[in-house]
Symmetry: C2
Subunit: 446 residues, 2 copies
């Protein structure tokens, strides 16, 4: 048999790694886009793209970063521009148009046919971060009156255009969503049966103004290939596919990670981020927290006499205040993530608070035991009593602040992820200073 290439291909590819992906660059659009982006030369990119068939060219182009796409289309003459834009997926076309400046936008729009122009302007009109901005208008739909056999014929015609033909939507005369039918169900159905007797209802769906994260959660919870999006009149206007939902999940998790370390969101790709961008995204919270830490300073200033009379107390200061911050950061992170994944909702607060008290008490006792020995060694019984009881109170207070703050932010319609480790640490520090020196001044004066 003369089929050595594809017979050997999977074997030579395994295990899949960077090298293997580049070797496959001539075949897979994602890899080709990555390869071109790695080369980074605009003229070379244009040449490489030109050498491809239009559908493949549009695929590769769609995988390039938006800034690169904008630079590439700037250089294209009108006929090639029209061909490329026409071949792009509707949602990618809208993303590109949203990204370019007004002048380029005015050049791109006339390159599209009237229908595509109306479509892309509609897609562009939805607010960033909503289902409308995420969806594509290239879904496959079927009128309810068709038979299964007729429907398969219609799908054959739509297969070239639609983003997916595996999940089909059954619409009435006003394009309202009646039901859904997968291609699998369709090919298993009796050929003469009408779709309205085959379709599955109700349909899990979202509205154009549903937040992107909620869309991703629905797709994940219901294991969907695509989620239909309807307008205020319940008319189908688009679908969000599961690969786009996966991107939302990853981006949203990254944003929450960054917020958790007090970094303003939207860094983009870390590897290509500029020094000035990184500076701007990090400086705000750092400076703000410096001023937040003044409360700890003020607490210390208030107890300067206590400290001066027993300088050994300073030895335990970082250890005690950090423990409060650490316990608080743990609680806050557990809550922030559980709120983000929907495991926990606002009304669970009271029940979780009770459990948090029990956990924090157990943690506080363990850590008090650990530091009391240190206190004995370094300063005698008095110091041991002071550091042990301070530790217990500080861990308890830190944990309760840490678990409550995300709920408080959420209640105030702020992002719970803002309850970051550094913020909790600053608050717990101030509380820790007061608790520690407060207890010390009591014990030492008695």
């Amino acid at each position: 048999m003369q089929t050595p290439l594809y017979r050997r291909a999977p074997v030579s590819l395994a295990p899949v790694n960077d090298e293997a992906r580049i070797r496959a660059a001539s075949l897979l659009a994602v890899d080709m886009a990555r390869y071109l982006e790695g080369v980074g030369d605009l003229a070379y990119m244009n040449q490489a793209l030109e050498s491809l068939e239009p559908p493949k060219r549009a695929q590769v182009f769609g995988y390039l970063p938006l800034a690169r796409q904008a630079a590439l289309v700037k250089a294209l003459p009108p006929p090639a521009l029209g061909e490329l834009l026409q071949a792009l997926a509707a949602d990618e076309r809208a993303d590109l148009l949203n990204h370019v400046d007004e002048a380029l936008r005015q050049r791109l729009l006339p390159a599209l046919a009237q229908a595509e122009r109306d479509d892309v302007l509609r897609l562009c009109s939805y607010q960033e971060g909503t289902a409308g901005a995420l969806m594509t208008s290239e879904y496959s739909w079927l009128p309810a009156q068709l038979s299964a056999a007729e429907a398969i014929g219609v799908l054959r015609g739509q297969a070239g255009e639609a983003e997916t033909i595996y999940q089909n939507y059954i619409l009435d005369g006003e394009r309202r969503l009646l039901g859904t039918l997968s291609l699998r169900q369709l090919i298993l159905a009796p050929e003469a049966e009408a779709l309205e007797n085959l379709m599955v209802t109700p349909v899990v769906h979202a509205r154009v103004d549903t937040p992107a994260e909620e869309v991703a959660r629905l797709i994940s919870d219901y294991d969907l290939l695509a989620l239909p999006i309807v307008d205020a009149q319940a008319r189908l206007v688009g679908i969000v596919t599961c690969d786009d939902a996966m991107d939302v999940v990853v981006e949203h998790a990254t944003e929450d990670f960054h917020k958790g370390a007090s970094i303003a969101q939207h860094i983009g790709n870390l590897k290509t981020a500029s020094v000035s961008l990184l500076y701007r995204k990090r400086v705000f919270w750092l400076v703000l927290l410096v001023f937040g830490n003044l409360f700890s300073g003020a607490g210390i200033a208030a107890f300067e006499d206590v400290i001066a009379s027993n300088i050994a107390l300073v030895f335990f200061l970082p250890l005690l205040v950090d423990s409060g911050g650490n316990a608080g950061a743990q609680s806050a992170t557990l809550m922030v993530r559980a709120l983000a994944t929907g495991e926990v909702v606002l009304r669970d607060w009271l029940g979780l608070l009770r459990r948090e008290c029990a956990v924090a008490l157990a943690l506080g006792c363990t850590m008090a035991l650990a530091v009391s020995t240190l206190g004995l060694v370094r300063g005698g019984t008095d110091i041991a009593v002071i550091v042990a009881s301070s530790m217990l109170v500080i861990v308890l207070v830190g944990s309760l602040i840490g678990m409550s703050l995300p709920f408080a932010f959420s209640r105030l319609k702020l992002d719970p992820a803002t309850a970051s480790g550094p913020l909790i640490t600053s608050i717990a520090d101030a509380a820790g200073v007061l608790v520690y020196f407060g207890i010390a001044s009591q014990v030492l004066e008695l």
Copy 2:
């Protein structure tokens, strides 16, 4: 027309919220499982499951938590047990078997037919966290010699069993993976064309021992519906579908979040986690960090004379050491997340280090400026010089520790996410104490 129910259904459901999901409980397996889990009564659950058709019953059962599944099968008589296990998806069957104790396992296995028993034992044999443990054996495959029309006929027969028939794998006589063909490509193809001329090669795939996160990343990068998994001999043994990949992404992000706050992984569902589980997952790092903070204490003890001679220095202590920790936590989080998503790899370290120096210098200068005014107000020129220069050095040191530690862990084959905020804070604290009092003793003694 007498079709009011499904005509109205989407309208009455929008916007999708908890209430709407429960209203749909009678129809969608996910919702039914959630509803039953909410009720929580085993007898009621068994009754509800019995009232369903076997395929639907298996679907609902598959969405229940594993502990609940184990409790339910324990109560089932052998014939019902066999029927349920037979109807379950192969990967869900394997997950259940991996979760139950040996006694129950010995009761479950005989309830399966020989073929299913072999299959589930094979799926169970792969290590947790690998492609093998994640995959299902119910993929649809086609011999290369078939024509497009024949292939569609074969798929019609597999449609009831396979997890997805939308992505099909073309195998040779030894079940080695030759190529892939989507159902879309198949129905668009000329009916008489042979699959070996239609199929797409090479196929993006993974091996049974590929880590689950790498599998999820491949599915996300290549926008796949399913990823084929091959054994060491390049034979197809299973597929991982995109919905399972999405679960991996969410779980992995949660684990990294928890590690970022020094929580040992695998808390499971936070809402139902017990006090003792939470205590155990949190106490280890908290106590370890207490001892880590002894270095800061030792630093302070070494400079007790400096502190005693100028007690105002303590005012700035939390502010300065926290700033180093905060800047370090920002850098560490950016790196941990970029390493986790694959944006950045080990060899990028040197290039990123150079940029980090520039960013940290800019941040340090800004923050030095901010604290120097505070220093002037509270302690005069000497103190202003000390706190400003300390701040600059501390932010620089903290940032460099924060950005390097994840790389160092990664280099040592440890999880970079272990470079958590609290760990960085402890290290930055100790460094901060030395820098601050070191500079102070120099300036004040001159």
